[in-house]
Symmetry: C2
Subunit: 338 residues, 2 copies
DNA sequence: TTAACATATGAAACCGATTGCATAATATTC
DNA sequence: GAATATTATGCAATCGGTTTCATATGTTAA
């Protein structure tokens, strides 16, 4: 356990620790010959700078926290990739923190930033309650959120990078309408929550814009899982007049829908078309391949990380708010006349 | 930017910083009344301990690095889950580091440990070359590897948690043999690498143990991707006598095989049975569902993290080496008489 | 030759906690 | 009531860097 510090180097070379620090960091003046000697001895002593000491003095950790509800959802993998691309180029490390959809854990993540474990944070599905908002507002470090809360007052000033899911569902629905399909069902999540409601609105507005009838009985709330989609689809299919198409609020649900159709002996897309959302990896692996709306996870990650870096380096004065537009990926499951 | 430290608290309360430290940490003696006052003022000042300072003094970071080749492979996510379960209960944070299959990045990860960014590291697919081994051996922090190199000398003393893939392939192959299938092909990865070779051996030994003929022309090296499996399968299927079953070295390859079979108009499992390995999420989503060998990623993660915690808390004196036995998950794709 | 300036280096403060040692105050024992 | 043990607190050193300021030396300009 032969530790080596700038003091050890200084002693060996016969200079002061300050000089060693300057030689190694390249800041300030330092003679060429001295510098050479210092570097030589540093290598000999197998010197590695202590980051804790550096952090204490410089007040920078070169780390950021990515707070995410759970990692089971493949959706977040791509976000991490995007984030990491940016962080890497700035020499930052990424700390992964699970919030498990719980306010308590989100507060813990915030606390870690307060304790200067990281210089900033990117947070997914932030709970917009008073306690949380207050906690995040009192931070002296930048935070980027990836879900936006549209408040009545609109007084909060957060950095946001998010994707317009309203537009996403609308795109998917319009794609069906364009093919002449009129009787379209929507399987959504919890529509009393903001994101769930927005997705519903995308469906609704696509119909209304096309002057189609909006039949509320074709709107089924469920949960965002495969079985959620499966059960909702079953209830739709056992009706006398089944819909010609289903828009699901995410891919897992859509896959559940496809399963229910298959069991009911219906062929996709001929008997019934299906559109999902998220454009997960599996969307292109199921049979038939699933039409889906890409939510650009990786790009969200990249943008969020970039905003954070800009804030940390003083290159961003105004509010950061980036709204990404989703992209429809048409595959077999919705091609009525393919 | 009203920072607050133990000095500010000390001043307000009228005690020394040492007393504040003791009151807040609970270590050492501290009077009840003083403690109360200190806690009260700490809350008033919105005090949060500075982790950098704490780290510097205590020489502990309460973080560990998970160095992983890439994050695109869903395989690793379950590992992260397992790791995190353990870390959480010990109050550690996880730093994610991408090595991109490159030695240079692995050395960077090691350097981070040297610089005391983290207290320990879990590393996936470590390159067993001299430089890397030397670097890791000179660390004064515990490292757990998840791939084992069986060296001739066997002199290295690393902590390992890994799964016996030899046994995995053997299990899968035996499962087919038990059903009376004799003509079984093996699509492997790079068999000049240790892991690739071991998988091949599992296949070979299963046949030999059952006194079956080992036909080397049925062994196809390819790469560990869907298209790798697809191409290999095509070359198998265009022969005059096609195999009755295929064992693929991982699930992605197996899915490629299934695709090739489908295109060739063969029905799975009746015309040809397929077995994969990794038991990824998609194995149960493809049609027909894919029989696979579960490599217990989450358990690897949990065990690796536990060894690390034990080392860090002095609860482990001997070498840590845990070999996990894979588990066969039988699904439709291999059930010849289902 | 001297003023003005650039370069090289050291001394020491500082970042914000922890902790060993010394001392003071209080409690316990005989 | 004296001796001893226990509890409470402060002082000051320490962790390992960075950085400001002062000083010393060397260089160039006038």
């Amino acid at each position: 356990m032969n530790k080596s510090t700038i003091y050890h180097i200084a002693e060996q070379v016969g200079v002061s620790p300050a000089t060693v620090s300057r030689a190694l960091s390249g800041r300030g003046y330092c003679g060429e010959k001295t510098k050479e000697k210092i570097l030589k001895i540093a290598k000999e002593l197998n010197y590695a700078p202590d980051q804790a000491a550096k952090m204490l003095k410089t007040r920078k950790t070169k780390k950021i926290i990515f707070a995410v509800p759970d990692i089971c959802n493949p959706f977040y993998f791509d976000m991490i990739n995007g984030i990491n691309q940016v962080l890497e180029s700035y020499g930052y490390l990424l700390i992964l923190f699970y919030t498990k959809h719980s306010l308590k854990e989100e507060l813990k993540a915030i606390q870690n930033v307060r304790e200067k474990v990281a210089d900033g944070m990117i947070m997914v599905s932030f709970h917009f309650c008073e306690e949380n908002i207050k906690a995040i507002n009192s931070l002296h470090a930048p935070v980027v959120l990836t879900n936006k809360y549209v408040s009545a007052e609109g007084g909060d000033k957060f950095d946001y990078v998010y994707v317009d899911t309203y537009e996403g569902v609308k795109l998917g629905t319009e794609h069906l309408i364009k093919q002449g399909i009129e009787k379209i069902a929507f399987i959504g999540g919890n529509m009393s929550e903001q994101t769930g409601f927005q997705r519903y609105c995308g469906y609704r507005d696509a119909l209304l814009d096309a002057n189609l009838n909006l039949d509320e009985s074709l709107v089924i709330p469920s949960n965002y899982t495969e079985s959620g989609g499966y059960l909702a689809a079953q209830s739709l299919l056992e009706r006398s007049e089944r819909p010609q198409a289903v828009v699901a609020a995410n891919d897992l649900m859509a896959i559940g829908v496809m399963k229910a159709c298959e069991e009911a002996g219906l062929s996709i897309p001929d008997d019934i078309a299906v559109v999902g959302m998220d454009n997960l990896d599996i969307a292109s692996r199921v049979y038939p391949k699933l039409t889906s709306v890409a939510l650009l996870q990786e790009e969200i990650g990249r943008n969020a990380a970039q905003i954070l870096m800009d804030r940390l380096h003083g290159n961003l004065s105004s509010d950061g708010e980036i709204k990404l537009l989703p992209r429809l990926v048409v595959r077999k499951s919705s091609m009525r006349f393919g």
